[in-house]
């Protein structure tokens, strides 16, 4: 049984989740989390494909989908940004 996490959404994702500020997902890794999010909210699949950054307890991951989601971690989805 995977752990239940609150996933905070950034502004652009909220409309795709019916305006919710955050959603609840049962997952143990970033990969599992995105799989569940994709099922629950098909509207987000495009965004997930384009790339979403995940902040876990303040550490920002853009590509490492194997990273585990610790118990009661603070999780934020953020746009995948470009730098110069």
């Amino acid at each position: 049984m995977s752990t239940r996490h609150e996933i905070h959404l950034w502004g652009a994702l909220r409309p795709l989740a019916g305006g919710a500020l955050s959603i609840f997902v049962e997952a143990d890794t970033i990969r599992e989390m995105f799989a569940v999010v994709g099922e629950k909210y098909p509207g987000m699949v495009g965004q997930i494909e384009q790339g979403i950054a995940v902040s876990i307890n303040g550490k920002i991951y853009r590509d490492q989908w194997d990273v585990e989601l610790p118990q009661s971690a603070e999780i934020y989805l953020m746009p995948r940004l470009a730098g110069g």
Binding site: W10, G11, M78, L81, A82, G83, G84
Partner: protein, 755 residues
């Protein structure tokens, strides 16, 4: 590769090579003129490519007749968008790239490509361009960010409807995207405040201004294989995107990155490269396409112009009770998410109970914007830091102490959402407070300003291949383009890890056929993530070397340790064996299992955010509004400075670019929507006599996520200058400066307002 090797916690405590100022491997080539940049490459039988560009800001292309040009002797290919079919399978971002490289039915800005030719020489290609007849139907245009949001503004793209708002409007708009960040209750927060400060700001569009214009040489063969020599910040990304846009196999498109004459974000993006490939494919000859400076300004990717409102509520004791900003960013003729980045970074330096930022990305008839060094953060910092400065003064607090009181720290909930881990803004502020610059006296008509800046650093995908040569030296091949000296840092990391001399490591950047995909040099990732991968590759090579030594001595692997560039037998029985040096093991490699190498393919996420504090002194001529920077200091955390000279160089370069942006750099558009100053004469980047020496203070707070504690340093240094210089100007003139650049006419006008 086993995880423990990749454990960043394995931090080398005492460094032998890291932190020294060794000569860069590309130094001699660059001081003797031998280094080969984009335009320095020639292919046998090469044609010259030129691009025909729209003189109009917004126009329907009713007809393009290329027949006369095609008939001209010496012309080998002429292309239009018809030669670049849409193969993007609904990927709108890729289609935008394609459409930006060549207009599809509509010219969207002054300088938008409409056709291109390849001919045997430049004069012939120039003649051919003149023979192409384009029938335009002019459309109304808009180039200002605020005007583009007016209800009656001309619409740039009929297909765009505002994204990111729950009640999405049904009709087309230039407002392509909305976003919102923050937490708490700002309205309640403003009610708590003793004072509320609010202002509106504008910044004009600036360009990265790299000295080397874009140049690409492409050779496409009928069998589908192709080569491209190009100046880019990321040859793997160029390969992937060009292959997709032209329907080629990435494996068959071999891209070599030339020495790059500056990028700062402007060379992270495709411009004319697809055209060079399409011309070569059509002509079945190599094609070299080099932009003129005029084309670089008109048709590559400057950064956004902006319009920003900031409101801050403050208690008498200096506590910020609420902070709000609306940021409108002009992204050029295609959607961008630059306002989003501005909205995330605006208040990132502060610990705020109630904060809200709204970002609006706006489309106009200007060139497609691209990243420019910490993209979007400098303008947001300019607006926010000015109101912070105003608030501090109004309540009678020293601006440094006011910032220290409200600075973000470990555990602060950031304005963009997550809670911060250990961060470095506090130390930069304390260092600024204690810096002699802060106490130095000021002269007549002089003012001092200080400001903070924040930037996200990135890591990303890196591929490094380390090989030991039979003579016991090492080559390290990295996929990350070296824009400012990273080849030196990478060789240093390998020398450090393997315990050998820096001079014995050859650091190179091979073409895309030699390594796996590697992200581009952006997001301050170059030295951070590439040195990490190089260290892991070295550790893997060391494991192989220990195995070879164990085999040679016929003892267990765990009884062989690697130190000072040699294998040492340890433990009872064979402690007295003469160590086997790298050279010994390399010479015998054939008999112990073949060539010796180490590889690393990594994703270096969690690069750690970065903060800087800058101090600027300016002198203004009150009769003309002309100003001069008298003194400038940059304070920034480098984690660990691998090569201090090049860390200082990044600090100084970012500061100089920010100073130019603050004082004189801007895109000037005429009423006709045409760019008026597409050249270095009137797009005024700082010259040598405009600047003082730029003092730097490198803080070294080790980054827990890098084996040597390294933190990216490339971008943050451009974030504070706009704010620091404008606050200095405000203090020198007594008038709050709210519009950048602070060109003499603008400053003089603001002084008139005062009288």
């Amino acid at each position: 590769m086993s995880l423990d090797l990749q454990n960043p916690k394995l931090v080398e405590k005492k460094f032998k090579v890291i932190g020294s100022r060794v000569p860069r491997p590309d130094g001699i080539d660059k001081v003797t003129g031998r280094a080969r940049y984009g335009a320095d490459f020639t292919m046998p039988g090469q044609l010259i490519g030129l691009v025909l560009r729209s003189p109009h800001a917004h126009a329907k292309i009713e007809k393009i007749d290329t027949s006369k040009a095609e008939k001209l002797s010496g012309v080998k290919a002429v292309i239009t968008s018809a030669d670049l079919p849409d193969l993007t399978k609904g990927d709108r971002m890729m289609l935008d790239l394609l459409e930006n490289s060549m207009a599809r039915g509509k010219a969207l800005y002054d300088g938008h490509a409409v056709a291109a030719v390849a001919a045997i020489d430049l004069p012939t290609a120039r003649k051919a361009l003149k023979l192409i007849e384009v029938k335009y139907k002019l459309l109304p245009h808009v180039t200002d960010v605020d005007e583009a949001l007016m209800p009656d503004a001309p619409i740039v793209h009929p297909h765009i409807i505002t994204e990111g708002i729950s009640s999405a409007p049904m009709k087309p708009t230039n407002w392509n995207k909305a976003c919102e960040y923050g937490h708490g209750d700002v309205d309640a927060g403003f009610k708590e405040a003793d004072h509320i400060f609010s202002r509106s700001f504008k910044t004009e569009q600036s360009h990265q201004g790299y000295i080397e214009p874009h140049s690409v040489s492409a050779s496409v063969s009928p069998d589908g294989t192709a080569e491209m020599w190009v100046c880019t910040q990321g040859h793997f990304v160029y390969r992937n995107q060009c292959a997709q846009l032209l329907g080629m196999d990435a494996s068959k498109l071999r891209v070599t990155s030339s020495e790059i004459g500056g990028g700062f974000g402007g060379k992270t993006h495709l411009w004319a490269e697809p055209l060079a490939l399409a011309l070569s494919r059509k002509a079945n000859r190599p094609v070299k396409l080099t932009m003129t400076r005029d084309e670089v300004f008109r048709a590559t990717g400057p950064t956004s112009s902006t319009s920003i409102d900031v409101k801050i509520g403050v208690k008498k004791d200096g506590t910020i009770t609420a902070a709000f900003a609306e940021l409108r960013y002009q992204s050029g003729c295609f959607p961008g998410n630059w306002a989003e980045v501005g909205a995330m970074t605006a208040f990132a330096c502060y610990d705020l109970k109630n904060v809200k930022t709204i970002g609006k990305d706006v489309i106009t008839n200007r060139p497609k914007t691209a990243a420019y060094r910490a993209p979007s953060a400098p303008m947001a910092a300019f607006a926010v830091e000015n109101v912070i400065d105003e608030a501090a003064k109004a309540i009678g607090m020293n601006p440094v102490d006011f910032r220290i009181k409200n600075a973000a720290h470990q555990g602060t909930k950031s304005s963009y959402g997550p809670v911060y881990g250990p961060i470095g803004i506090g130390p930069t502020l304390e260092a600024a407070k204690n810096h002699p610059h802060m106490k130095a006296p000021l002269g007549k008509n002089q003012g001092r300003g200080m400001a903070c800046g924040f930037w996200f650093n990135f890591g990303g995908q890196t591929c490094v291949d380390l090989n030991v040569t039979p003579d016991g030296k090492v080559t390290v091949a990295q996929g990350t383009v070296d824009v400012g000296g990273s080849r030196a840092s990478i060789a240093m990391a390998v020398a450090e890890e393997m315990g050998i001399n820096y001079e014995d490591v050859r650091s190179v950047i091979p073409d895309t056929s030699a390594l796996g995909h590697n992200d581009m040099t952006d997001g301050s990732r170059g030295t951070f993530s590439t040195s990490m991968a190089a260290i892991y590759a070295a550790r893997n090579a060391i494991t192989v070397l220990r195995e070879r030594a164990a085999k040679t001595w016929d003892i267990p692997l765990d009884e062989v340790e690697w130190k000072d560039g040699a294998a040492h037998a340890k433990g009872a029985g064979h402690g007295n064996r003469t160590p086997l040096s790298l050279a010994d093991l390399a010479r015998k490699a054939g008999r112990t299992g073949g060539p010796i190498a180490g590889h690393a393919e990594t994703v270096a996420d969690n690069a750690g955010v970065s903060f800087a504090t800058h101090i600027a002194d300016i002198e203004v001529d009150p009769e003309t509004g002309r100003s001069q920077i008298k003194r400038y200091t940059v304070i920034q955390d480098a984690g660990k400075a691998m090569h201090p000279s090049y860390v200082e160089g990044q600090y100084q370069g970012g500061a100089a670019q920010g100073i130019g942006w603050a004082l004189n750099e801007e895109y000037v558009y005429g009423k006709d929507g045409r760019l008026q100053n597409a050249g270095f004469l009137d797009y005024r980047i700082p010259v040598c006599s405009d600047l003082p020496f730029i003092d730097t203070q490198i803080l070294e707070i080790p980054n827990p996520n890098h084996p040597y504690g390294v933190r990216g340093v490339g971008e943050t240094s451009i974030v504070p200058p706009l704010a620091a210089v404008s606050i200095a100007m405000t203090n020198a003139t007594g008038v709050r400066q709210t519009h950048l650049p602070m060109s003499p006419p603008r400053v003089l006008k603001s002084l008139k307002g005062k009288k």
